[in-house]
């Protein structure tokens, strides 16, 4: 059982943007979802944990590894897939993964071979193993990225928006793979696809503007909203007026007309009907505290 303990992490960029604002969190084995809108600080947090960025203050420990003092130790037990993952041109998928195996300390050739074969098979690229990665589509590259993150028995796997660009089939395959390994290690998964978190994660956090605005189990969050979410289909022209009068959590188009969700302790009347809250409502209610129509 590993514990990732983050305390009072802060980071301000030279341009003044506060990427992390006194973030403290404790994460244990299993899949951990990190939700947040663009620019919330997810990537900053993940890169800091992946030893790629210095924090201004605070500490982070994986068990007894002090991540900031001993980045080298953390890297030995880290699997990382960044948001943008490119590949070397003129190198095949197999060669690339083999290279990563070496970097992650698998020195025996036979072991590497087995590992690479397994991974290529799992990400469905075995047939393409001798092709130059440069010719791969975005999704295929992403799959190579996923494969490399799993190499070397990592205790901590950080994946930053891993399913972007994957088709639904690939996405499922990826989550199955992640779930396989996620039993015994810490997997931090950042995404803005709320359903992914609900399906996969036992724990989650929501970030906004560098702050942690929620952490806990997804179901807990949903339970908190139980009986407090109401929905109504309105016409487009009414949207602005509703926005003024009701705490709108979200609006999305259904059959060409806006379907709004509002947060309310009691039934707001005027045609609203109560719905069972989902994680998306949690997400929007947590980040949309200014009641702006999103």
């Amino acid at each position: 059982m590993s514990i990732l303990k983050i305390e009072n992490l802060s980071k301000t960029y030279p341009n003044g943007v506060k990427a992390l604002d006194n973030v403290s969190i404790e994460i244990t084995n299993g899949m951990f979802g990190l939700l947040g809108p663009n620019g919330a600080g997810k990537s900053s947090l993940m890169r800091t944990l992946a030893t790629l960025q210095e924090a201004d203050s605070g500490s982070a420990f994986l068990d007894d590894i002090n991540i900031f003092q001993e980045p080298e130790e953390l890297r030995k037990v880290l699997g990382y897939l960044p948001q943008e993952f490119g590949v070397y041109p003129r190198i095949t998928a197999e060669q690339l993964l083999d290279h990563m195996c070496v970097l992650k300390g698998i020195t025996k050739k036979s072991e590497r071979k087995e590992m690479v074969t397994y991974l290529l098979d799992k990400v469905n690229l075995y047939d393409k193993r001798n092709k130059s990665v440069k010719g791969f589509s975005g999704g295929m590259k992403q799959r190579v990225g996923i494969a490399q993150a799993l190499i070397g028995n990592p205790k901590l796997i950080i994946v930053d928006e891993p399913t972007a660009g994957l088709d639904p089939g690939e996405r499922n395959r990826f989550y199955n793979l992640l779930a396989d390994v996620g039993q015994e290690v810490i997997v931090i998964l950042s995404t803005h696809i709320v359903d992914d978190v609900r399906e996969l994660c036992t724990n989650m956090a929501i970030m906004n503007l560098g702050n942690l605005v929620f952490q806990g189990a997804p179901q807990t969050a949903i339970d908190e909203l139980k009986g407090k979410v109401y929905q109504k289909i309105i016409s487009r022209g009414e949207l602005e007026e509703y926005g003024k009068n009701f705490p709108i959590i979200s609006n999305k188009m259904v059959g060409g007309q806006p379907l709004i969700h509002v947060f309310s302790e009691s039934n707001p009347g005027s045609g609203f009907e109560q719905v069972a809250p989902n994680l998306e409502d949690v997400f929007f209610s947590k980040i949309n505290t200014q009641n702006v129509i999103v």
């Binding site: 890169r47 992946a50 030893t51 790629l52 960025q53 210095e54 003092q69 980045p71 080298e72 890297r75 030995k76 880290l78 990382y80 897939l81 960044p82 943008e84 993952f85 490119g86 590949v87 070397y88 041109p89 003129r90 190198i91 060669q95 083999d98 290279h99 990563m100 070496v102 970097l103 992650k104 300390g105 698998i106 020195t107 025996k108 072991e111 087995e114 590992m115 074969t117 397994y118 098979d121 799992k122 075995y126 047939d127 001798n130 990225g145 490399q148 993150a149 799993l150 070397g152 028995n153 396989d180 390994v181």
Partner: protein, 1193 residues
């Protein structure tokens, strides 16, 4: 639409560094060529202003050849950028116009590709401005600029050439979507250019050739062939004549290509043939659960990571198109270089290993450096550019491992290239039937001179890229360090190799003395730089920007925090070792073996002159007898000398002090009886001994001087190449102090002298009719002595043989050393060389004279021919000039640190690098090796039996006479007059090229001021022509009687006027004008055959009509040329064959009109006709003297 693409093309590319880098390089080259004489781009400069329109145009046309590379870069980019960035589909689905896109891109690239060439102008302008200011060149060597030069060059050459190259490159790039193929297209243009060259070489086809030249280079040189210096200095290329036609022709061809390409071009994707997938579905074991392997992080992990990094880096270079192109280019250069062979005056040297190494260095070094610079940036920035950096950075490896792997892959790629070139070289050697392939020399040279350079540069450039943290600024810094740092050092007057990255003593392989005296120093310097490279890598490893980019300051903070102690300790240890080595190198190169920087040396010359000039001309005794005791220690590279000499006062006044100039490094000890050292200046190395009792006229004293040359440690430079392990070679001037003030120390350059308030220095005393004092010394021994006896006891190590002048009286062994006692058989000038090496000796006897060739055992192939040449010379010279007075005649090989042959009395040291290694297998008769031997042999008469006084015209009697004598031995070997033309042409060329580069003023032959182009080139041609006009016997008679009068005679030494006195009686009155015009004036001819036609006569014979044009030109001392009336005898002739081998008809006719017609009746149709068919007159342009004879209409 056109405008959009046009301007976006400009904007896009102007933001890239490429334009500026190319422009900078162009400017750099022409700056160098303008501001100094050491950089030469095309053609001669000399009399012509350094920034004349002609020179600028030459720069432009020549550099436009390199401009092909630029065109290739820009046009490829314009054609392929969208495809390469996968943007084509987006772009082509928008409603854009085909012509706008196609031509917008093309013309954008066209304009862009001309911009870097403007660097040529910038370089010239800057050079012309800086050079006079900095004192590198005389201000007089620069003239005004003409706007027309720049404008016309742009529209005549730059724009059209880029257009023509562009149409081909752009069209091919678009058609094949391949950079490499379009490069090949550009190569095609070069082929056409080369073909045009072969047309040009035949004067009959030169118009076709000039039209065919893709780049107009040869067209321009044809147009300017008859330009006088004044024309070259003022006229810009113009839109006229052949040049205009050539340009129009090629623009039309280019437009055709472009139009065809436009018609073919389409936005639609071509249907690609889908290759059938060959991948078979393989059977494989399904692994359902993730294999669990415990990662291990031991030292073998580092090694595995290093290997894996190395492999990926290396592959990425090897597979990159840039690498392939650079590789192909350097390979092409090397192949061309090898194809041309190693020629020396029309002969080929054997492809010796060191020659191959030289060829490889010459043609590929620049490319290897470019590869190192380019890929250092590529490798450092690759991860970031491919966006894989975060994954790699977050993996558990240490930065130093990945950086070392990058460095090693750079070093490896450079090394592999070098080895590939060596492989090509070996193939070349074998293909030429040469089997003495010295793999060890290749290997050692690689490890001594290549590998360390690759290594330190890789380390330095990786550090630069890491520190600067911006790829292009990094490139700029790298280029600065490579090319400019040495200029900065030069300007700061620092010549220590310890500050010039990768520098060290040069090692040059010689078959005789191996890698020579620089080896020890080179090894230490290599160690020093190797460690420096490691430190750079370590610094880079510590400061490597891992993760998101941060400033250098942050990175230093991170380094302090994160870099493990052991690593820091390692670096510290490295630095300590490096400092130790640096200290040792410093001690050796700055303390143990001091040297002067060039500024210091210059200052020394100035101060020496100011301080001691007053002693010039003080009465000094002369050496009248000398005995040398020389011990050479080849292993230690030491020499001990003892000289016992008699000094005699031959002046009319008593002498009470003796002045000496000495060399500190030879540690002299003087033993002058009854004298006192009254002045000693160690800095200027000047001493004065005062004699207690003045030496009266005619009185002598015996003195002893000892010197010791001791080699200690190693030097900043190569070190003394005349004292080496095998092949020690020095002369008596360098081992002993010299008497009196040494005017040779004085600065000679006018501008430099001006800088130090020194009046311009006369090159030589003026020729005097009745000279007294100035004729008392000759230019060989500078008045220290005249013809004297000399005796030498010389010893060397037991494996070597030592040679000194004269007959070997005795030879013995003492301990493990060989001793030899030599004595000259006849008094000679005190001008001797001493040599020691492991020699083989070939001997032959000729009329009581021992002909001996001392050579290295690897060089036995031409020895017989050399013996023949010596014998032939002895025969001709003793028959025609008089007896040979020595009992032996030695040709002695010395290492190739110098390339010359020189004549000392009875001995002729001859460099190994020509003659001994020249391939004479196919040479049935006379050749330049014979010529060189014959020349040096002739010096035994002309220089050693009679030598000119040290004044104007002095060298005519040694160099011109020797070169003439040599030509005469050639002439006597062959009956074929046309063979001689092949020889004389080198002398003609030497003279005409030389006079174009004269910096002070050209003298007539009889006043030659040791100007080589005059005394060798013009002197031999004139004397040869003279014997053709007045007869061989007459000329030889004049020389002989002159020799008889002055042979071994005490001073006064003869002047050129003395020879003219002997020449006069042998010249018939009708030919007297030749003596004046050729010897006392500067006279050139411009003969031309305008037309040659034949008609068949009724009697079956043929009448050939020649239209001839002749001009005689006289140049005054300032170089101004005037045409004078012609009233001269000149040959006309007919050739039976087109190769001009068979001169079927020849007649000397009088020319008294500028245009004349001659009719000749012959039995058969001649192939060619000509004026001066044997090329004996000095003709500004000889090519137009001969033409094919055509049938009259």
């Amino acid at each position: 639409m056109f405008k959009i693409f046009f301007s976006s093309e400009l904007k896009y590319t102007l933001k890239q560094p490429m334009v500026y880098i190319f422009m900078f390089l162009m400017a750099l080259m022409t700056f160098g060529a303008t501001a100094s004489d050491s950089v030469q781009i095309g053609g001669s400069v000399g009399n012509i202003l350094k920034n004349s329109p002609f020179v600028i145009t030459t720069f432009v046309t020549i550099l436009l050849l390199f401009g092909l590379l630029i065109a290739a870069a820009f046009f490829n980019n314009a054609a392929l950028r969208d495809y390469n960035n996968n943007f084509n589909e987006i772009l082509f689905s928008t409603p854009l116009s085909k012509s706008g896109y196609f031509f917008g891109r093309f013309f954008g690239a066209l304009i862009l590709s001309t911009i870097p060439i403007l660097g040529v102008f910038i370089g010239v302008i800057l050079g012309s401005w800086v050079a006079p200011l900095a004192g590198w060149e005389d201000a007089e060597r620069f003239g005004p600029f003409y706007l027309e030069t720049f404008v016309n060059n742009y529209f005549l050459f730059i724009l059209p050439n880029m257009f023509i190259a562009g149409t081909i490159i752009y069209s091919m790039a678009i058609a094949f979507r391949s950079t490499v193929i379009s490069f090949v297209g550009a190569m095609g243009l070069i082929v056409v250019y080369l073909v045009s060259g072969s047309f040009m070489s035949d004067i009959d086809n030169e118009t076709i050739g000039a039209l065919l030249d893709t780049f107009g280079i040869r067209t321009y040189s044809l147009e300017t062939k008859y330009y006088t210096p004044i024309e070259k200095n003022t006229l810009s290329p113009s839109f006229m004549g052949l040049l205009l036609w050539n340009r129009l022709l090629w623009i039309v061809i280019g437009s055709g290509i472009l139009a065809a390409s436009y018609m073919r071009f389409s936005f639609l994707e071509k249907n690609k043939k889908v290759k059938e997938s060959k991948d078979k579905k393989e059977e494989r074991v399904e692994v359902s659960t993730m294999p669990k392997f415990a990662p291990s992080f031991a030292s073998n992990t580092n090694w595995a990571q290093f290997k894996s990094f190395f492999y990926t880096n290396f592959t990425s270079i090897r597979k990159s198109v840039t690498f392939k192109i650079l590789f192909v280019f350097s390979a092409i250069l090397l192949v061309t270089r090898l194809w041309n062979g190693f020629s020396y005056f029309g002969l080929q040297s054997y492809p010796l290993t060191y020659e191959i190494i030289g060829a490889i260095d010459g043609s590929t070094t620049l490319f290897i450096i470019i590869i190192l610079v380019f890929f250092s940036g590529e490798l450092i920035w690759r991860d970031r550019e491919q966006k894989i950096n975060e994954v790699i950075d977050a993996s558990p490896h240490s930065s130093i491992i990945s950086l070392s792997a990058k460095a090693l892959s750079l070093v490896t790629i450079a090394s592999l290239l070098n080895w590939f070139f060596i492989f090509c070289g070996i193939i070349y050697q074998l293909a030429n039937g040469y089997t003495r392939i010295e793999l060890d020399v290749y290997l050692i040279d690689f490890f001594m001179t290549k590998f360390p350079i690759y290594f330190v540069w890789s380390g330095v450039m990786i550090m630069i890229q890491v520190l600067i943290n911006n790829k292009y600024v990094g490139y700029f810094a790298s280029i600065f360090v490579i090319f400019f740092w040495s200029i900065v050092l030069l300007m700061s007057d620092i010549s220590s190799n310890m500050l010039e990255i990768g520098a060290g003593p040069s090692v040059r392989y010689s078959d005789i003395s191996g890698f020579g005296p620089g080896v020890e120093g080179a090894i230490w310097f290599n160690t020093y730089w190797g460690l420096f490279g490691l430190i750079c890598l370590a610094i880079a490893g510590g400061l490597w920007n891992r993760g998101s980019s941060s400033s250098l300051k942050e990175r230093i903070a991170i380094m302090n925090k994160q870099v493990p102690k052991a690593f820091k300790m390692g670096i510290s240890a490295l630095v300590v070792v490096w400092l130790g080595v640096a200290g040792f190198v410093y001690y050796n190169t700055q303390v143990l073996n001091e040297y002067m920087s060039s500024d210091e040396r210059e200052q020394l010359s100035v101060d020496y002159e100011k301080k001691f000039k007053k002693y010039e001309g003080v009465d000094l005794p002369k050496i009248t007898d000398i005995k040398y005791y020389i011990d050479i220690f080849p292993k230690q590279r030491d020499v001990h000398v003892k000289a016992l000499m008699t000094l005699t006062n031959e002046t009319d006044n008593p002498i009470d002090s003796i002045h000496y100039n000495y060399t500190k490094t030879w540690n002299p000890e003087f033993n002058i009886p009854n004298s006192e050292l009254v002045f000693d200046d160690e800095y200027f190395e000047y001493r004065i001994y005062k004699l207690r009792k003045a030496l009266q006229p005619g009185e002598s004293i015996d003195i002893e001087i000892q010197t010791k040359y001791i080699t200690e440690g190693f030097q900043n430079g190569t070190g003394n190449t005349s004292v080496v392990e095998n092949g020690t070679f020095f002369n008596n001037m360098s081992i002993l102090p010299t008497l009196g003030y040494n005017a040779g120390v004085e600065l000679s350059d006018k501008t430099t002298r001006k800088k130090y308030d020194l009046a311009p220095k006369k090159r030589m005393p003026e020729l005097e009719v009745n000279c007294s004092k100035n004729c008392m010394s000759n230019y060989l021994s500078n008045g220290h002595s005249d013809y004297i006896n000399a005796e030498t006891v010389i010893s060397t190590s037991s494996d070597q043989l030592a040679v000194a002048p004269g007959s070997l009286l005795k030879e013995w062994k003492e301990g493990d050393r060989n001793y030899y006692h030599y004595k000259v058989d006849h008094i000679s000038q005190d001008f001797y060389s001493f040599i020691s090496a492991r020699f083989e000796v070939a001997t032959r006897e000729w009329n009581g004279v021992d002909i001996e060739v001392y050579y290295d055992k690897k060089h036995e192939v031409n020895i017989d021919m050399m013996l023949d040449a010596v014998e032939r010379s002895l025969t001709y010279y003793s028959e025609n000039f008089g007896p040979y007075y020595h009992k032996q005649c030695r040709v002695i090989e010395f290492p190739r640190y110098s390339t010359f042959a020189q004549a000392f009395p009875g001995t002729m040291p001859y460099s190994e690098s020509f003659g001994f290694v020249t391939n004479l297998e196919d040479e049935s008769d006379n050749n330049v090796i014979d010529a060189v031997i014959a020349h040096e042999m002739a010096h035994q008469w002309w220089a050693h039996q009679v030598v000119g006084a040290d004044m104007q015209g002095g060298t005519m009697m040694s160099e011109s006479f020797s070169e003439y004598s040599s030509l005469m031995t050639m002439k006597n070997m062959t009956d074929d007059p046309m063979k001689m033309r092949d020889f004389i042409k080198y002398d003609h060329d030497r003279y005409l090229r030389g006079r174009g580069q004269e910096r002070i003023k050209e003298q007539p032959l009889y006043k030659v001021e040791n100007q080589q182009y005059i005394h060798y080139g013009k002197g031999s041609v004139i004397l040869y022509a003279l014997q053709d006009y007045i007869g061989e016997d007459s000329v030889n008679k004049a020389m002989r009687t002159f020799l008889d009068e002055f042979k071994y005679r005490k001073p006064p030494y003869p002047t050129s006027l003395d020879f003219m006195r002997h020449l006069d009686p042998v010249v018939p009155d009708s030919m007297k004008y030749l003596v004046d015009e050729w010897f006392k004036e500067i006279t050139l001819y411009d003969n031309r055959l305008k037309e040659a036609k034949y008609t068949e006569l009724p009697n079956g014979k043929y009448e050939v009509t020649l239209q001839l044009e002749t001009t005689k030109i006289k140049a005054d001392s300032l170089g101004k040329e005037t045409k004078v009336a012609m009233n001269d005898w000149v040959d006309i002739g007919l050739f039976a064959d087109a190769d001009e081998k068979d001169l079927m008809y020849q007649k000397r006719v009088k020319f008294n009109q500028p245009q004349m017609e001659f009719k000749i009746i012959v039995d058969s149709i001649p192939a060619k006709a000509g004026i001066d068919p044997r090329h004996i007159l000095i003709d500004r342009v000889y090519k137009d003297n001969i033409k094919t004879v055509k049938q009259a209409e």
